[in-house]
Symmetry: C3
Subunit: 206 residues, 3 copies
């Protein structure tokens, strides 16, 4: 359990830093940077909780609020050196979406939603913070153009349900499903995978 | 009742295809196209359900999820031939907003909201999927510029309430209110109606 | 209590007019102008109520719906003369955010959220209507770039909590916290304050 909390916090940090970097690119001020970091971290889970009518976690437990405030301040101070830690950030971020996916799927199962919706809730938890970030920054969400990110979550969520039919222990299922998300994402980025394009070659530049 | 379900499904297909077409214009990938088709179809109803604190329908009953997945796949496969069916799509879409309006008004009445709010909920059900679609595609919502679409829903909702004071049967009221929405929209598109502009002529080009 | 209602209505008018002006700049039609005026006024409070799972106030009590409709119509009719009343509007708007902040903080306290979250809820009530307005108008929210607006709410909310530890009467605390918001905002605008920039001077023009 403790391990999961550590991963969760590392994922939150990675998301917050990614949000802060996007906001600084748009030359926002402190407040804007913090808000963007915040919604990138907790936006997906918040949307999930509103849709399933659950309590919004960060409103009762301030741990993540403090983590995000700290990460944002560090991101602002070290904004010129973040290139050096980009690799670690990417790793945290990848582990973070794996964990967020599993947490979202589990929340869906706990509230007794059908498997397809649980997978959607897991994907939403992991990916929609970034969607809200992009909307607030007045961009078309990057995830709608390069979806291996979301595909990894969908496949990981599906694996979770397949394994539920086996006799594997709950922790083991979480680890396998999470590893699937991480593996797909790492392979996708390493080999520059993307979904087969439905558009012709003449559009390759767009 | 069966007839209403058929209309609902046809409307959902029309909305999903309209969303998919918009997403393809923005050159999104599979995932992006599906998400845009999805929010165009169910976004208005979802916002309504969150505001009135009701259960979000598509999260419990997967019928519409499957319909949207199917419609999106067909829209992608036949994207070059959709021009030929545009007329049917427009018809489904128009019938769809009529039905969505009535459903929204009825949900408002069931939850005991004042008539003005029920009409707003009906209009929201019919129109705000398109608003969310346009936000996600980084456009100013088209409905804020050409509002006959929304006006048709508002008038239809108002007619619904007027008829409630008569002794007409419930089904009959639904059919009349829905027909009002359809008629206004068909006339508006046929004769290129729009609300009287508040801006001067020199701005006609903008 | 009556005084608070009057202030609330004046604040609502100021927000609605500010929304209507933004929408008219984007050349929206009647419907678009009204929707933007509406979300500018009630969007922040609605988001707050959805997050804390409270009833959305304007859906049960139509007072503010009527006020917004009236203010929008007047803003459209007198759109060319609004320059003359800009100063009064600014005053109403400033008083409005002070009141919205206090109301948001109080709603958070009533639902037993931690102080930090209550302050966030107050700031959200006062500021996020404008954020939604800017998203719908396809702009980067102005508040993310010039945040004295939000800072005033945050400081006012913090003062509210500090004073709760004293023996001051509830009304007195409200008035002091509200005055802090108003004072900071008036000073900020008068002396053109902004948060210290984290960006270098070469970027001053952006």
């Amino acid at each position: 359990m403790d391990l999961f909390l550590v991963i969760d916090i590392l994922g939150t940090i990675a998301f917050a830093v990614s949000g802060a970097l996007t906001a600084m690119k748009k030359r926002m001020d402190f407040f804007g940077i913090f808000i963007i970091a915040f919604v990138t971290s907790v936006g997906g889970g918040t949307l999930r909780d509103v849709l399933i009518d659950a309590n919004v976690a960060w409103m009762r437990d301030l741990t993540f609020v403090y983590v995000i405030i700290g990460a944002t301040i560090l991101a602002i101070i070290f904004r010129k050196k973040l290139g050096y830690v980009r690799r670690s950030l990417f790793l945290f971020d990848t582990i973070g979406i794996a964990l967020y996916t599993v947490v979202g799927v589990q929340k869906g199962i706990a509230a007794d939603f059908p498997p397809l919706i649980c997978i959607a809730l897991g994907t939403m938890s992991a990916c929609f913070g970034g969607v809200i970030r992009d909307i607030l920054c007045n961009e078309i969400p990057v995830i709608f153009r390069k979806n291996i990110y979301a595909t990894a979550c969908i496949v990981g969520g599906a694996v979770y349900f397949l394994l539920l039919k086996t006799s594997l222990s709950s922790n083991f299922i979480i680890i396998i499903a999470g590893s699937v998300v991480i593996t797909i994402r790492l392979f996708a980025v390493t080999f520059n995978w993307s979904l087969p394009s439905i558009y012709g070659k003449q559009d390759a530049e767009s």
